[in-house]
Symmetry: C2
Subunit: 515 residues, 2 copies
Amino acid sequence: MNFRFVINQLGLLLLVLSGGLLSLALFYFIWTSVVGHDVNPHARLALLISGVLGALVSGGAWFGTRKGCGQLGRREALLLVAAAWLLGAALAALPYFLWAQLHFDDATAHPFRSFADCYFEAMSGLTTTGATVLTDIEAIPPSLLMWRAFTQWLGGLGIVVMFVAVLPTVGLGGKRLFFVEAPGPTTEGLQPHIRQTARVLLGIYLALTAAQILALLAAGLTVFDSICHTFTTVATAGFSTQSASVGGYQSQAVEIIVGVFMVLGAVNFGLYFALVRGKFKNPLRDPELRTYLGLLFVGSAMVTVWLVGHPITTTTGEITDGSLGSAIRYGVFNVVAIGTTTGYATADTNTWPFPAKAVLVIMMFIGGSAGSTAGGVKVIRIWIAFKVMLSEIEHVFRPNVVRTVRVGNTIIHDDLKLATVSYLLGIVVLFAIGSLIVMVLEQSFGQGCDYPTAASASLACLCTIGPGLARVGAIENYGWMTPSTKIVLAVLMALGRLEVFAIIVLFTPRFWRAH
Amino acid sequence: MNFRFVINQLGLLLLVLSGGLLSLALFYFIWTSVVGHDVNPHARLALLISGVLGALVSGGAWFGTRKGCGQLGRREALLLVAAAWLLGAALAALPYFLWAQLHFDDATAHPFRSFADCYFEAMSGLTTTGATVLTDIEAIPPSLLMWRAFTQWLGGLGIVVMFVAVLPTVGLGGKRLFFVEAPGPTTEGLQPHIRQTARVLLGIYLALTAAQILALLAAGLTVFDSICHTFTTVATAGFSTQSASVGGYQSQAVEIIVGVFMVLGAVNFGLYFALVRGKFKNPLRDPELRTYLGLLFVGSAMVTVWLVGHPITTTTGEITDGSLGSAIRYGVFNVVAIGTTTGYATADTNTWPFPAKAVLVIMMFIGGSAGSTAGGVKVIRIWIAFKVMLSEIEHVFRPNVVRTVRVGNTIIHDDLKLATVSYLLGIVVLFAIGSLIVMVLEQSFGQGCDYPTAASASLACLCTIGPGLARVGAIENYGWMTPSTKIVLAVLMALGRLEVFAIIVLFTPRFWRAH
């Protein structure tokens, strides 16, 4: 293991995060001097201190290891990714923690109860989950809300760059799951290719961001709200600046814009890559995209049907009539919000009839497309597993018929079959273990916990959705849980976000042994 | 598909079932004339009519197709197994239904509410599940309780013979999962081998049965109770003659005897086969047996630890002290009852602390050994999947290291890896679908249903345990559910019992197409 190189690259990544902190602090210092009054000095200060601390440590790590760099191997890549998210969340949590320490005399009064809460919130940001510990989001200074949204934007970008541009070059992550023409890297001349691919992906991400900000401004949102919600939409992440989430605007235009960009964020970025390179047919032919859009449509339609005739409680507490119109409006938005693993809400899905909730849970599990900012197990894996199941069934009564398993025109080889089915089974096991630990921790150290809450919390974190059901539902939050539970859920977020393996390998002794 | 041959063999199997009905009816007619008074004429009559009807139809089917028999192919074997259980349950349900029709003037008064209830009870019998729709078991005539226990004994025997002697000869079922020396059949000269193997297995089964009856008699049980409980213990099935299950005897001797024979029933019958052939070392070396006994020990120990200090509610309604003694007594028995998929109870496990219940649910899922009368996914599959997962994790950071996956000394080949992991994932999916359907059906047509009830009902039927948790817990029953739910659960029992595929293939068009 080339620790030196890992520390070097990790330093670089955390330097970017520190840069974000410093830029934001700087902006708010300037902004205060322009508008002339000082609303939240402690928040600004917290951002500044965190940024300086982060820059010093990460800059030092990077500078101290700049010589004798090497190649990025598989194990180095895995360790880098895991460390980037686990340590990045600690750095990203710092401003929340410092602000609370500086601002509140009474420790019990502040919205972030402990460092575990801050870490949970920061991990929820960087993993684009969107689960929050905050009961009253409006009580948090705008500068910290902007930071909170920015962590999601950065997390989404990080995931896309890692899983589309970097990891495939060492044979990890996305590549085996991509069926569009591979977006760039071959084994020859990796470095320039990675940079170029990453640059194009950044461009696409920036373009989506700019487009949505403009759209939301046109829909009447403030600059602050537009930026914050855009940051958390294109990353399919889901932090909002209001406790009522997107439902707080009560604007159908905003819901439509957000809805469209959630879907755009949950699409394989390799497809945009193909578009940028002028290959317009690839996206249309992509089997995963077609299936995914089909799933969102079927899911929305099913939920809408079940909602007709049921009064819907919105996130602002109003109760709608049971008309077809409101069933479509609230059904489609919330299904898309869950199906893209964003986790915004306009309605209290807890009050929905059971079949509608079941559809939401299934959509949580499936998630978005591979190579996107969305979580879940990914559509392509569900599809491969489905085909494998069918072929296994036929194998029972026709053992001698060898039928190749295909997705689109791509033949799925035996090792990918086993990897996919094992991955899905592994996710189910992790989900079960997560639910179990949440139950035990809450019953031992907290106020107790019911099954739907524990199970949906585990699923919503593992699949990077954010809100679950019951006591962690759309209009609830994770604040009431014990610090130990929050740490466990933060680990689940990292597991789900980094496709499980990057975290799991850290626990295997063989990973750490010399090659 | 050689339908003629399938019908012929099916006729033979149902003829055995009818023979059981007729023998029982005959015995009770003689018994009545001996003791001189007539307790339950309707029950006797119901058994007789069912037996005559069954014998006529199945005998006719067998006689009409006796010419032009063929070889048992894979598809024929699958269809035969599926049809035997699905139609066998209908025949086995007949006496319950006829008795209720003959005996009760008021249709709402009788313990079996509908034919769906009778079918559920009969399927629960033949699949050795042990789930019941009866609220007051003591209200059922002894002759019918004897029939109910006998269906489980016959079901257990059928499973052992099918999965150890018959199906492996066509390359199905047990063979791929057996790691002890194959118990007999090779591709040459199938017929004599099958008969011989089946005969030895019958002998083993009869020996276990005789041993337990004698032990229970010695412990003070009546002849009737000894026979009924033995029938449902060696089959790891779980029907009792009392609503309080085995707990009703309040006898530690009975609990120990039943406990030992439950474990003996959940052991691979191939091991007994090896013992009979003088190969005494095989069982000791069997990796599945060792792991299984280890699991039962660890599970019992964990539950016992959690029970210490908790008063335990027994199935007779008494409340014990929280002493170590009663924790061991009730902890071990109920863990073994669940872990062997028998489903007897001496305590109301619903009132146990969550971690103890979680252990029970995990044991339900795992089940017993392959080639035994126990259900669940089987220990060997869990083990293979665990090894596959480990090798997949290592594969991520060491793609070029090819490590063979072994269980004991046996190398697990790629196709078995995929089959095993797919099977486990399939069971999870079936469990989820089952829970979903139970929820929807009960909410639509019944009194509504909570998540733990729906989930544990689905799991307890799929893994052929019997009782689940919450409203289908150890001291509850399935009687309150709607008939549609009962049919779904009966199908789940058949799916779980017949290793899924025998039922699933019936729904694939390719299965029915000519070769």
